[in-house]
Symmetry: none
Subunit: 153 residues, 2 copies
DNA sequence: TGGGATTATATGGGCGTCAATGGGTATATA
DNA sequence: TATATACCCATTGACGCCCATATAATCCCA
């Protein structure tokens, strides 16, 4: 599977390390398995992460915004300048920078949520609440969620 | 046959393994026969499953949404983080994650119901009751059922 | 066509490997 | 030198891989 899926709840040890879920590590290209990028989500108090290869895709998406709009600058600044790269050690662990941890309210444990081509890291309780809220919003439009899941191509 | 059909009642062993019905395994493409995806059904206390190919289609659909919209996050979260992938071993068995088992009320045995392009896993009694209920609902509108079954394309 | 043989399927269990986690020590950086 | 981080080794429990068996289905040949 080459997508980030499912959710995982892991601990941060005394040294500040946390395991990147094994299934997430396998999504990263064998070449760059020891490096990921992290940045603050622009839509929620969470951290988003992905392989370095995805940077190009992010750039493309931002480029598709109207260059002269205020959004362009805002997104561009908020995302690019906030990106940090982190090394994954041989055991599959990495360090979450303090600034990102406090942005997400993370202390001693964190939850990983697969999001397809990237993943999010949340303070566990907030992360769970967020999934519930998302689902509640979508269920109001039952048809669309169902379509998304069952529609045939 | 390339559709999930019929129903099967199997046991979960001490290690938590359960056989994926042989006919279901044959529906999966020979390439990805050893991996399936599972997720909570939206409308019933059951688990739905299918091959990983379907997940890729879903990913494509979500990718087409506006990346910076709130809908994007809602779909992405509700789908990717709720989906789990599971490996099917050489004997055709796999593990149902605890969270999904408890969502469906499954303990030591489970029932598989073919649903065409996907399948459902139920706690046996509830699954049977559900089929009865569905059928009863359909029969109330006998006319439309008869039409459905006899109409030629 | 009948009946024995072969194959497939559902299920059980042993065992090695891997994943998540902890910690000691070396190396680097400020 | 002090603090942080990379590398190495260790532990525990879960999971994958392998082998085994019994029953059911299929095949094959006389």
């Amino acid at each position: 599977m080459d997508l980030f899926v499912s959710k995982y709840f892991y601990k941060i040890d005394k040294k500040g390390r946390i395991s990147l879920p094994s299934s997430f590590r396998n999504v990263l290209p064998k070449a760059n398995r020891n490096e990921i990028i992290l940045y603050k989500s622009i839509k929620s108090p969470s951290i988003e992460g992905c392989g370095v290869g995805r940077l190009k895709e992010i750039a493309k998406r931002i480029n598709n915004l109207d260059f002269f709009s205020e959004d362009y600058d805002d997104f561009s600044t908020s995302i690019f300048s906030e990106i940090v790269t982190t090394n994954v050690d041989k055991e599959g662990r990495f360090l979450i920078p303090e600034e990102l941890k406090s942005y997400a309210g993370i202390k001693t444990e964190a939850a990983f949520f697969g999001q397809g081509h990237f993943f999010q890291i949340w303070e566990p309780k907030q992360g769970l609440k967020n999934t519930e809220d998302s689902r509640r919003r979508l269920l109001k439009e039952k048809k669309s969620l169902r379509m998304m899941l069952t529609q045939q191509k």
